[in-house]
Amino acid sequence: MTNYSQPLEFSALNKWIDTTLNEYLPGFWAVFIELVLVGIALLAAYAIIAMILIYVERKITAFFQARIGPNRVGKYGIFQSVADVIKILLKEIIPLNRRDKFLFYTAPFFMIAASMMTFGAIPFGKNMQAVDFNIGIFYVIAVSSLGIIGVLLAGWSSNNKYSMIGAMRSGAQFVSYELSAGFALMTMVILSGTMQFSQIIETQSTCWNIFNGHISSLIAFVIYLISGHAETNRGPFDLPEAESELTAGYHTEYSGLSFGFFYLAEYLNMFIIASIAATVFLGGWMPFQVSGWDGFNQVMWYIPSYVWFFGKVGFLIFLSLWIRWSFPRLRIDQLLNLEWKYLLPINLVNILIMVGLVLSGLTLTDLFK
């Protein structure tokens, strides 16, 4: 696999930075500077991806809805997000009279910290992963569920009944769907035999997991998309902020940058869910290859890994937008029914099927060895 020429990868740049720093500085300082560089790169990526997503969503939505979308700031409105960010930075954070001040200001940080920490573990491309834990998936599931604390705190501390209802809905929804998302990922862990992201991608070099585990993988993929969609609180699962019922749900009382944090985290969560799905089911940054077809594979490898990654993620985000703008909202009891009566039992059975597939050697790679 490594024999293919990869002219546009970042590996060379990474290696060059590493060797230069080690040449001139003692080991500790070299590592320290590298950490700072990685941190800056992640933060910048976080903000930029969010801005791009906001713009893309507005344009795609406009396309769905027979509108034009942003078209005033720059050609085709491409600087609209920049203008929005500047606006939100300048806006006043309106203090409320009878809110719990400490919790009120803490809540957005829970949201943003949780999504930031998950974001750090995502493999964006070949040699473009900040930390490669050996329990990568476990870490992602654990850390991303911290966000719900922010939502609950926001609803509780706002001293607003609408926010409170929104937060409680969110709590019920998140806890339920976290279960399904986790089980769907576990199904794939069984198939890959590892929780480490880099190895999961490695095992998919010639056959993506979604093909490899055929029936079982497909079921897990669909369940993960549904429950991931629900975890990001976006329509048709946007009950916590159902604007026609609860005005804006848990973040009704927030303004300025603290609202911006919620907004940013919402968009990034969408990206994170899509990138985990892409990594676990669609081979992550791994190009599409067929074993034995060397010429074809070489062509695929000319496309750099990060393009593959963002392409797959973009496709999944488009799916999510499509669903969001086509469906009306579920009711809370229907939402919980869907999870506890349908998704969860299907999921549990699916894990067993996957175990059977793996043990009896019925996965695609086993069959066509």
């Binding site: 769905f64 809805q65 027979a66 509108r67 009944k161 609408y162 209802i165 809905r169 329509g235 048709p236 946007d238 009950l239 159902a242 604007e243 026609s244 019922e245 005005t247 703008w325 086509s326 469906f327 009306p328 909202r329 579920l330 009711r331 809370i332 009891d333 229907q334």
Partner: protein
Amino acid sequence: MEQLKQLVISLFPEVIIEEKKLLTFTVKPKELHALAEVLYKFKNTPFDYLKYLIGTDEGEILTVSYLLSSSKNPGIDILLKTGTPDRENPLLYTVTDLYETAQYNEREVYAMLGIRFINNPDMRRFLLRDDWKGFPLRKDYDANPDINPVSLESREIIDTAPVIRENENGEIVEETINIFEKDDYIINIGPQHPSTHGVMHFRTSLDGETVKKIDVHSGYIHRGIEKLSEDLTYPQTLHFTDRLDYLSANMNRHALCMCVEKAAEIEVPERAQYIRTIMDELNRIASHLLAWSAQTNDLGATTAFIYGMREREVILDIFEKVCGGRLIINQNVIGGVMFDIYPEFQKDVKAYIPYMREKLKEYDRFFSHNVIALGRMKNVGILQIEDAISYAVTGPAGRASGWSCDVRKHQPYALYDKVQFNEIIRTEKDSYARYLNRLDEIEESLKIIEQLIDNIPEGDYLAKTKAIIKLPEGEYFQHVEASKGLFGVYIESRGEKTPYRLKFRSPSMALVSAMPLICKGEKISDFIGIGGSMDYVIPDIDR
């Protein structure tokens, strides 16, 4: 009718029976309830549908008139009248136990004329604040703004209601009842809320996510149109109608124009009739499209909302070309229409009909069979037919409960007796039936327009009227089928150039009054969805 008269004479010898334009019974307050009950249970045509409840200050006495009709045959109207000479503490008996719709109407009469009703379960003022001084529709009302100054202070909402009851010994006792229980979790939906379709205020007590009880507060945008009209000549009152239910502006105005025309015996040219009917139907389509959009938006489907707006825009463009107005059309005047149609009007409308049919199919594919949409609408917000009649819920909502109540069929006006169309009736009684009814009515409206558009006769579009229109003494009613249901105008004339009393019967008020009933026990998100399916417009209530 003769049978009914004989029955009433035999049971109530003191009742005065007059046969004017309508059969009128004038009755003493004591006997009102008993007579109403007899009429309510009358064998062949039970008068179980209270169309209007009108309070009037006749000078000597304060009267209340009830226009009753039968749910079996809403074309028959009879008038029931009672009154009290007591101006200090006027008390009458309620008919709320027979006609639920009377409850809000009686509360409105209390706010406007100060008449309180014995046995009404909730005798707070409707539309006005509890501390309002004076009764606006009384002729001796002092409108000096110093008496009721505009207050900028926030007022505490007190959830208690006065009640006047008659106990077993025939004594009248005043009590205060609590509207909510002590530990209820109450949220205010409105007056500022994205989904109340206007400045409406529902105080809602919740049990988790389930609605326990709804208390309706209205009047935030009350403009006193009925009072204002009493000082204006008939042509001057016309523009108010557009501002009631602004979505059926043309139909409302049509009603008032027809009422005046009938009373003053003005012949409306044929061409004007055609233009009025076509414009009414276009207006109905626009209104139903907005209702459809708003309902989908209430259920969380923003895209469908914008699709509806897209089609409505075409109609508004046609309106703009006809008369310059888009929402407030200002087209009907007494004697005809203000402007003739423009040369390409027929072409534009004819191009719109196939376009809209195509889009109806698109709505059907996109939303009507969506699994989530079905889950949110089917078997939600059930309004039984008895309740629909009792609450006088007309229009697409009433017909979704299986009640044939289309004024265009039962009391045809303009050209509706000359065109073929179906009255859409469904018996599922839920939100989904109301939803489908509107889409089907759009199709029926298109059919009506199709039959008329090619046959518009040449000629005058406006009859010559006198500069000052005086109506002969009497009471005049005119109902039309607005997009929300029966919209009515009542004029009492004393031969002057201004009306003595002008009353608008609002369909939205009936729709809102049924909300607490059909939302009880539903989830809060369904409360919003049901509101969308009822499609009320608040300025129509806050006249």
